[in-house]
């Protein structure tokens, strides 16, 4: 019993170590191709529009509701303590711009576009299309990975800005309808307290998330093994691993930015 449990734990560790190694190799080769600068712009544009179009409706909707629920809770809590809803705009905007906008957008895009990337590249892998790229004189990292990574690095920050906005609008909507807070008060709560560095804090984190989600999805895709079942496994793994890493790295990125005074 114990022996077999230990064996499977050891096997798991080995597999994790091997995967980490492979992931590092892929990242290294990605960096090398980036430095070389021979970029497939057409592919990058195609990926940008795909990721953007795929993810925009769902990110806008989730952030609108996030803003709504934040306003609802803030209003209820401050009403409980002060008998009147206070600083709803401030709380909504700070929470969204610094944390929830970047993190939720990254997670939603991981589930939408990250999964799509893992599934597409996984299918290409198991049907030997990735091998075919080699034989036709190009490199899968150059042709597939880099365009998707660049697209993520451009589109995820944009989507985050949009979702910051829709989130704040969602908060405004609930403030007005539920608590009769005038729009002017809501906006004042925001602009009086918020500074550019707060926005920058959230915005910088999106680049970490974009890199993470893109590279994990790319890696899971190109390392797929074992037919249709393998494609399913890679897709799930891509989403689970990217979401987990986004949440974990969010803590460290925040700590780092705080230490650098960008809070």
């Amino acid at each position: 019993m114990i022996e077999s449990a230990l064996a499977s734990f050891g096997g798991g560790l080995l597999a994790l170590a091997e995967e980490t190694g492979q992931f590092i190799l892929l990242s290294r080769s990605t960096l090398r191709w980036l430095v070389r600068g021979r970029i497939e712009w057409r592919q990058t544009l195609i990926q940008m529009s795909r990721i953007g179009v795929d993810s925009l409706p769902v990110t806008a909707m989730t952030s609108f509701f996030t803003g709504m629920v934040l306003a609802l809770q803030t209003g209820a809590t401050s009403k409980h303590f002060f008998n009147t809803p206070l600083f709803v705009g401030t709380v909504v905007a700070f929470s969204i711009v610094m944390e929830l906008g970047p993190v939720m957008t990254a997670i939603v895009v991981a589930g939408r576009a990250g999964a799509a990337i893992a599934a597409e590249l996984g299918t290409m892998k198991v049907t030997e299309q990735i091998d075919a790229l080699y034989t036709l004189g190009t490199d899968p990292v150059r042709y597939l990975v880099i365009p998707r990574l660049l697209a993520f690095l451009v589109v995820l920050p944009l989507l985050t800005v949009i979702s910051d906005f829709t989130g704040i609008l969602g908060g405004l909507f609930v403030s007005q309808v539920k608590y009769d807070i005038p729009a002017i008060v809501y906006w004042h709560d925001i602009v009086d307290n918020m500074e550019v560095r707060h926005f920058v804090h959230g915005f910088l984190k999106t680049f970490v998330f974009a890199w993470t989600v893109a590279m994990v999805s790319n890696y899971k895709g190109v390392s797929t093994r074992g037919g249709a079942e393998g494609v399913g496994r890679s897709t799930t793994a891509a989403v689970v691993v990217s979401m987990t890493l986004v949440l974990v790295l969010d803590y460290f990125a925040t700590a780092l930015l705080n230490a650098a005074g960008i809070t």
Binding site: M124, T127, Q129, T135, G137, T138
Partner: protein
């Protein structure tokens, strides 16, 4: 010239190739035959460098792909090859024409304006027309195979590795493809390796035929030598008989059990 010396390839604990020694002279067509799963595709992938041999070497014009480090050198090496994948491996997000000309951008400096006519020419060579704007998913199995063949010859490589070029084609179309392989070899002096199960095709296109068996080259010789081989295993294979030394071995392990299983009406 392609020269394989003692090529061994294992996947995990399973050893597929157990020491392949082969030499394909420049301008020659070597046909590889052998049972399903004996490692023919694996060998082709070792030649082009998609697999690294576990031990042994493959050298093409004296260059060993497994030893190359720089991505540019590897790309240069692969540039010389056309590779027909067994399952075609067409890019399913692209049209037929885009598939065929895909490599031209990376492998040649042919201007983009010529791409369309090159695609049509290559399609004509494999007996297809008016399918340029189809997606691979809209083609039949045999058509896919021929589009894949058109793609592997589009950049005029000096080596072509064909993995079962005629599988899934009707007999007439198979012969058209055999003629194409012969023409490419005669007119353009292309060096090629053809993996096939189709003995008629093998006799027609081969300079020499090599039979793989249990991870080794069992016999290599001219089509006539193979046709008149005295080795019972080669005889059995080229005659396509279920009776003989090869299947006997299978039977001991496998077929007998499943026949007993069938006889009992599938209840076990």
């Amino acid at each position: 010239m392609i020269e394989a010396k003692g090529v061994v390839k294992s996947f995990g604990s399973r050893t597929i190739l157990r020491g392949i020694d082969l030499r394909v002279e420049t301008g020659e067509t070597l046909v590889i035959i052998g049972g399903s799963g004996c490692g023919k595709s694996t060998f082709l992938k070792c030649v082009i460098g998609l697999h690294a041999p576990t031990s042994g070497t493959v050298a093409v014009d004296g260059i060993e792909v497994a030893k190359l480090q720089d991505e540019h050198d590897i790309a240069d090496y692969r540039r010389r090859f056309g590779y027909l994948f067994q399952e075609g491996a067409l890019f399913d997000s692209m049209t037929v024409a885009e598939n065929i000309v895909f490599g031209l951008k990376y492998l040649t400096d042919i201007p983009r304006s010529k791409y369309r006519s090159i695609a049509s020419e290559c399609l004509a060579l494999v007996g297809l027309k008016d399918v340029e704007d189809f997606k691979p998913s809209e083609l039949s199995g045999g058509m896919k195979k021929r589009v894949a063949l058109a793609r592997s010859i589009a950049a005029r490589p000096s080596y072509i590795l064909y993995d079962e070029p005629t599988t899934g084609l009707d007999p007439i179309m198979s012969d058209v493809i055999n003629d194409l392989i012969l023409d490419l070899q005669k007119q353009l002096k292309i060096t090629s390796i053809v993996v096939t199960h189709d003995m008629k095709a093998a006799y027609k296109v081969a300079g020499r035929i090599a039979m793989f068996h249990e991870g080794r080259v069992l016999q290599i010789g001219s089509p006539d030598e193979i046709r008149r081989s005295s080795d019972p295993r080669v005889r059995q294979f080229v005659d396509g008989s279920s009776q003989g030394p090869i299947k006997m071995k299978l039977k001991e392990f496998d077929a007998e059990g499943s026949q007993a299983h069938l006889a009992s009406g599938g209840k076990s």
